[in-house]
Symmetry: C2
Amino acid sequence: MAETIPAPAAEPARAGRRRSTSRAALERVALELFDRDGFEHTTVDDIAAAAGIGRRTFFRYYASKNDAVWGEFDLEALRARLEAHGPQVPMMDAIRAAVLDFNRIGPEEEPRHRRRMELILRVPALQAHSTLKYAEWRSVVEGFAARRTGEPPGSLLPRLIGSAVLGACIAAYEQWLADDGADLQELLDRALRELAAGFDRPDPGAPPPPAAGDRPRA
Amino acid sequence: MAETIPAPAAEPARAGRRRSTSRAALERVALELFDRDGFEHTTVDDIAAAAGIGRRTFFRYYASKNDAVWGEFDLEALRARLEAHGPQVPMMDAIRAAVLDFNRIGPEEEPRHRRRMELILRVPALQAHSTLKYAEWRSVVEGFAARRTGEPPGSLLPRLIGSAVLGACIAAYEQWLADDGADLQELLDRALRELAAGFDRPDPGAPPPPAAGDRPRA
DNA sequence: TACCATAATGGCACCGAGTGCCGAAAGGAA
DNA sequence: TTCCTTTCGGCACTCGGTGCCATTATGGTA
């Protein structure tokens, strides 16, 4: 999740009419309107008008109204971060480090990111759409897990790890949104550690397990 | 997931025009058309026409075209099954048993269930919509986990468990669909056991962990 | 049997997202 | 200028979904 594409990558100067706006600019306009009037009550016409473009043009920048909420993800970066650690680093540690890094956002970006994630996690239409947006994200994690576990990609364990890691991130984000002062990095870290350790822990006030480890506290 | 509502619960005989169809009948008609023509290429008009009702009436039975694919879930049953085991049964064992039980389907139901899940997991619009449909399902698991862990509902760990368990089920279902002969119960069982045990297992060919347990094999 | 309250039906008009088509605008290069 | 390329944006259309309301079917009651 997170990790917006850095730069427009300076174009060399092509022929033809110049683009009259940019995805980033449209996203800003859209988020402002969503914030002010709510996602459902903002029509694509509203956004286009506010951005000074035609409605038809909006759909050349974003495939749907939903998509305008998402920044662009640089999945290559996630993949690179996963592979950054050698095979001596345990799989879940590598995943945790990569995910934390991927979700690191500067303090000045935080308010916008918060609003964006509030929309994504609370507006039903966006909540639903997120499944599609995160499919690739999940498959990156899945691919890494496949390599590390030695299982073929597409088999149960890697898929499970991909799904579960995504679930953990969503749970962490939900917690983050619920508490204004919360630290996203810490929440992600906790969630992913819990996931790595497994949920087979004794209930409060139950007999101790056969092998005592150093499980993180809940 | 799964577990359709059993009976229409014999009505006492009220005044007024009788319903001209039923949710179940509409679902059958819709699934047939989706199967034949594909989900996107089937319009609500098509379904209504095939069912011999007006388009407007269709939306009185299902809130959306998407919803026609889902059977109705009896979440009360899931909740009951979770609580069926006493507190001496470990949390993840109780969850596993309840989920397996909830997803038990008779052999005659299997083909229909398979087609249904194929649609849900493969058609993008339905895949997206599923997030909303399973929100309540997840919150049932989350509530149980909250009680068992002693954490307040809505806090990180129970949420994480809800998300992760759902993720595990989805991974199992995907495997099930990918292989015609696969046994759903066994896949769910494996996925949930892996999840319970955690993913902090040694990579193939790495040094043994400090405490050797009886982790399930991958 | 006539009437009435009730509940479901379905047509109609409308909104908004998304798409195919195509001519017009804008800019670089010959 | 002329030509080529690219983007723009209007128009018309499809489809999902909703509010409104007259119509129809049904059971109960006078």
